[in-house]
Subunit: 418 residues, 2 copies
Amino acid sequence: MRKFASRAFPTAKQIYIPKEGTCPLGFIAGGAHSGVKKEFNDVAVVLSPKHECTAAAVFTKNKFCAAPVQVSKRILKESKGNGYYGVIVNSGCANACTGDAGLADAQVMAKHLTNKPVVVMSTGVIGQRLQLDKIKKGLDAAVANAGSDLAHWQSAAEGIMTTDTFPKLISREFKTKTGSYRMTGWSKGAGMIHPNMATMLSATFTDAKISSDLLSSTVKFAADRSFNAISIDGDTSTNDTYVVLANGASNTEIKANTLEYEEFKKNLTEFSIDLAKLIVRDGEGATKFIHIKVKGAKSFEEAKQVASTIATSPLVKTAIYGKDANWGRIVCAVGYSGVDITPEKVNLHFSSLTKPELSLHLFKNGSPFEINEDVAAKILDTPDILIEIGLGLGEEEASMFTCDFSHEYVSINADYRS
Amino acid sequence: MRKFASRAFPTAKQIYIPKEGTCPLGFIAGGAHSGVKKEFNDVAVVLSPKHECTAAAVFTKNKFCAAPVQVSKRILKESKGNGYYGVIVNSGCANACTGDAGLADAQVMAKHLTNKPVVVMSTGVIGQRLQLDKIKKGLDAAVANAGSDLAHWQSAAEGIMTTDTFPKLISREFKTKTGSYRMTGWSKGAGMIHPNMATMLSATFTDAKISSDLLSSTVKFAADRSFNAISIDGDTSTNDTYVVLANGASNTEIKANTLEYEEFKKNLTEFSIDLAKLIVRDGEGATKFIHIKVKGAKSFEEAKQVASTIATSPLVKTAIYGKDANWGRIVCAVGYSGVDITPEKVNLHFSSLTKPELSLHLFKNGSPFEINEDVAAKILDTPDILIEIGLGLGEEEASMFTCDFSHEYVSINADYRS
């Protein structure tokens, strides 16, 4: 029974909101409305009251790094990723560009529920002070509301939303030879999503047992292939944080150099990619999901540079919005990516991810090839698009996930503060 | 009498279209409708029948460099910038990504009027072959229409338009101690405008006399401060070309290491900046002109990198469109520009170029400062905006000129080919 169900989400997004799932043992999650935002949940907590967690995180590289990021970084450094109590979040105010006063506010927020290490996150408008009184009361209410059902987790996921149109939540269970562990995670972020990283908050919680050092390298690997591979508009924010907490409540231990670890790494990476994709699914004003895959590069970095250039081209993104298979703009973006490509070796395939049988080899070895406007129109009528570039220079590849650029994107962002 | 007047231009843009002016001696200009585009002029010529010209040019750095660019580059290399007859242009078809056949087409186009060196330019849809028969007839008609009045030059400027809403033409006369020279230039480009360089075509013609070597270094200097300092959407195209032709018909000679040369360099740079600004004035769907000035940088390059990051941020550009003085997004862009800035030293001024008395010091030494929504609203009600960033790290500065991101931008680019 979700007594805290507070809002409706778009029908088209309902398929992305899980209706059932098993959550990791030992965690409780909750959201509440503190009053910083006019309505709806605007604070969230996920806590592990009985089992201290190991923690690992990646943070924004923006030089204007917000107060909560500075505080969370310092706590992570001092604790070496051990002894964590949980994650606490507020939305509506980013506590960024708020100077020393903002830093003190973030510290108060971090200490409000516990003296143990926590990750503190904020998202919302930049340059305004936190309304600490409201947030403290809100956090208390979130704790009072907290529980271990999926509905409690959803309430927390709702508490971190800003321009998001639906809560982003995934829950999965994994078997090992001797036992099992679970992961539940949420993410948020609609505008300003771009690698390294962007008003993107995400956290994954698992009841596996894993050392903070091993968790740390795993989270970095996963982030490069997930949250650092998505782009809505190329802007990167002051507050981005992706954190993973492991409380060991399942007694399933993941040790380095084992088959279990390789499985865990793969599972966490796929889990992170799926959380990241949910953000793209909710790109501000997005009508299409676009997977850009660049193959045949000399290195992962060069492949990613080409993919990123296409993913951030407003001309490519408006063309897809207009259902125009404008391969010229894609090829043009490949040409100015800064990577030393050979035009005569470039190939471009355009297909539907929704209906993979719809595919065109639009550009072959540097020249237009299978130009078929009818098939192109059919591909672009489906919601999920795959753009595949072959560079013909090597064996490496990289992917970016992005969305189209719509009238709605302009409306949302021209009018964010009002 | 403009017998070839063929179309109406927006009332708001009329102030940018010159009604009178003195054009350089010895050149004739003309436009015509070849039929590649449904209506309006789509070819243009500017020729110097009696005086061979020196020429210098900068071209796109896109790896998919279009056939006309390849041909023009080769001609410039072989001629060493001497003996030029003029510039010929078609619009509606970019002759890009057209392989060897497209290269042959561009060569035919280049040879159609003369065996002397010419600059050949194309702009329009990528990946389609030139309709050479139509273009040849169109060029003949443009020559037949050509003349030396400003109206003839405007007809030529109309022939290079694609999504441009008005012809971009400037004409000026400069006095020297012993004589005078004139410059007339046109430019085109609306979407895809970004440094290095972008479906941007421009040409300036002068009756000064200057060696091709000296002209070459001057054009590079001017381009870095003009066409390489504007951005509409960050995309750079396959066809960009900026060329300057000097026919010496005025007998006013510009020699290296003279006061006259310094004046000429300054004049050509300002002239080029003004031609480049006209392109921004016509940014697809633009409602605001934005000058971004970054000061206090360690180098020109770092200043430009910060300015360029702000100029290409969709969040900044939609905020300005929404008349929102969202300093947070500007500061955020400074933070992720990749330049090693010190947050506590960053200052931001926001003012109107239209009414310079309207100004706010929004951000002072790393914190929000003069936040006054009333004044901000007044600034954003004016069409020309200045965003000034102080980095506090050095003495260098750079400017970028850009425009806002509107619903109209999305409409134009979602629907370009239909």
